[in-house]
């Protein structure tokens, strides 16, 4: 699985998962095997991850997500860059998100 994150890429939920919003929470439910570590795994996002997820699934590029979060929060140490790409890597590795285009 390619996990190098191109900042100009956009991502969408893959066909291997079903994404639901229940009582305000995002639930990521595996549809095919091998997404979770356990057979019953369903995933949810903490608040910070949710703020990245919402931007990504709206079709923003990774760069736009980082810029928008940096405008909102302090990013002097580059922490937001690392957070966004780190989360994306995990989501792509788990086949939860897939790349849709290079801008």
């Amino acid at each position: 699985m390619e996990t190098d994150i191109n900042l100009d890429s956009c991502f969408k939920p893959s066909n291997d998962v079903v994404v639901r919003e229940v009582m305000g929470k995002i639930l990521i439910v595996p549809l095919t095997s091998g997404i979770g570590d356990l057979e019953s795994d369903i995933f949810t996002l903490n608040e910070s991850a949710r703020s990245i997820w919402d931007r990504l699934v709206k079709g923003e590029t990774v760069r736009a997500v980082i810029e928008s979060l940096s405008a909102e929060y302090d990013n002097e140490s580059g922490e937001i860059d690392r957070d966004v790409t780190g989360l994306l890597k995990e989501l792509v590795q788990r086949r939860i998100l897939e790349k849709i285009t290079n801008v």
Binding site: M23, L31, T32, S33, E39, L45, L69, Y73
Partner: protein, 393 residues
């Protein structure tokens, strides 16, 4: 960044992390896909003949079930349990299953495993249920199994189903039951169950046999009554679990209060069930016609938000019940409930001696009662519970 810089996806618990903060209207829906079964078990409270065209004709269509699944997901359900009868008997099982999974529902499946084919095993391997299949085991050998199932060749098919589940690494657990035909196999069953990779504890063994849910056969009910293990046998099965006494006293400590005249002191309605014909029931067993809601006439949301709360306000009127069950501190330990009262007596509020006897045997065994004492006679039940707890906990 909001909250903290800690970014993570996390594994949701079985309630999707929702239960404590903000529970959905519905978390799990039980759906009986059919009452038909390819077994004809001696003790079964539900099954219709596997070839019953009449039962099949009345069943909800795949489209109607898919609509129910969609309603469930909209109400926040995380899981659906498919049971029966034998759910895999439906020709459209795969279509229904895929619909549930594509809606993001976990599927819990109760089956006898006879219809687990390579095709079904591959399906479950590719599109996992996200829960463990529960397989009921009617005997460890052909003779004992088929003494219960009354279907020649059923044991071989069951074993083949189990082998396929193992081969395709499909998580499952097994459950047993106590019948005269299996009485000598309990240890063997437990030892075998222990070899199944997904068994985390000793298998459940059903010892209480229920009469026909639809009160549809005196003949079958007479047979079930003859098969019922004695309270002593029931106890001997419970005692196989080292922590049974401790757990039971702990349970009574938490739920020991006499229920009063409210009929539903149990969880009925919190995990509703839809029967194969489109009627919502408060639980899998309660089929009294006054307590079911036609989902062909109304929505799942109305059933859950309006009908069920109204049902849960029902009160007992039977004097015998009011003088015994309503004031008995053992009531929540007892299997007596409106569903069982209905199957045994045709009313919702009649004490059931079979369950009462078993409950009193347990209560005596764990030190809550002595001799001929009855639970409803004990006024200082809190002291009894505290004393038993101090000995065992």
């Amino acid at each position: 960044m909001p909250e903290s810089s800690h970014i993570s996806i996390k594994r949701a618990d079985s309630a999707g992390g929702l239960r404590q903060e903000n529970p959905p209207v519905l978390s799990v829906l039980d759906i009986e896909l059919t009452e038909r079964c390819n077994n004809n078990c001696v003790h079964c409270a539900i099954c219709q003949s596997g070839t019953s065209a009449e039962a099949q004709r009345r069943e909800l269509s795949a489209g109607e079930i898919k609509d129910l699944l969609s309603q469930s997901a909209s109400l926040g359900a995380l899981s659906v349990r498919f049971t029966g009868g034998e759910p895999l008997l439906r020709d459209d099982f795969e279509e229904i299953y895929m619909s549930a999974r594509k809606l993001g529902l976990r599927v819990l499946l109760f089956t006898n495993a006879r219809l687990i084919t390579p095709h079904i095993a591959r399906l479950f391997s590719r599109i996992p249920l996200l829960g463990k299949i529960e397989v009921t085991v009617y005997g460890m050998h052909e003779k004992s199994y088929e003494a219960c199932s009354r279907e020649k060749g059923s044991y071989a098919e069951f074993r083949r189903g189990i082998e396929l589940l193992l081969q395709y690494n499909i998580p499952f657990v097994v459950k047993g039951l106590m019948l005269p035909s299996t009485a000598n196999e309990i240890a063997e069953f437990e030892a075998w169950a222990g070899t199944i990779p997904w068994m985390e504890e000793k298998p459940a063994i059903a010892t209480i046999l229920y009469l026909r849910d639809r009160r549809d056969s005196h003949e079958r009910n007479d047979l079930i009554k003859k098969l019922r293990p004695s309270p002593e046998t029931h106890l001997s099965i419970l005692q196989r679990r080292a922590c049974y006494r401790k757990e039971t006293v702990g349970f009574c400590g938490r739920y020991g209060e006499p229920p009063g005249t409210l009929l539903f002191s149990c969880g009925a309605g919190r995990r509703p069930c839809v029967d194969p014909y489109g009627y919502l029931q408060l639980c899998l067993s309660l089929r009294h016609p006054d307590t079911v809601y036609s989902l062909k006439q109304g929505s799942l949301q109305d059933a859950i938000k309006v009908f069920i709360p109204k049902m849960r306000e029902m009160r007992a009127t039977n004097r015998d019940y009011i003088e015994r069950c309503a004031v008995c501190f053992l009531k929540n330990l007892c299997d007596q409930c409106p569903a069982k009262s209905w199957t045994e007596h045709g009313t919702l509020d009649t004490p059931v001696e079979y369950f009462c006897n078993i409950t009193h045997a347990i209560a005596e065994d764990i030190g809550l009662l002595q001799g001929s004492e009855k639970g409803w006679q004990i006024k200082n039940w809190k002291d009894r519970l505290a004393k038993a707890a101090s000995k065992l906990l």
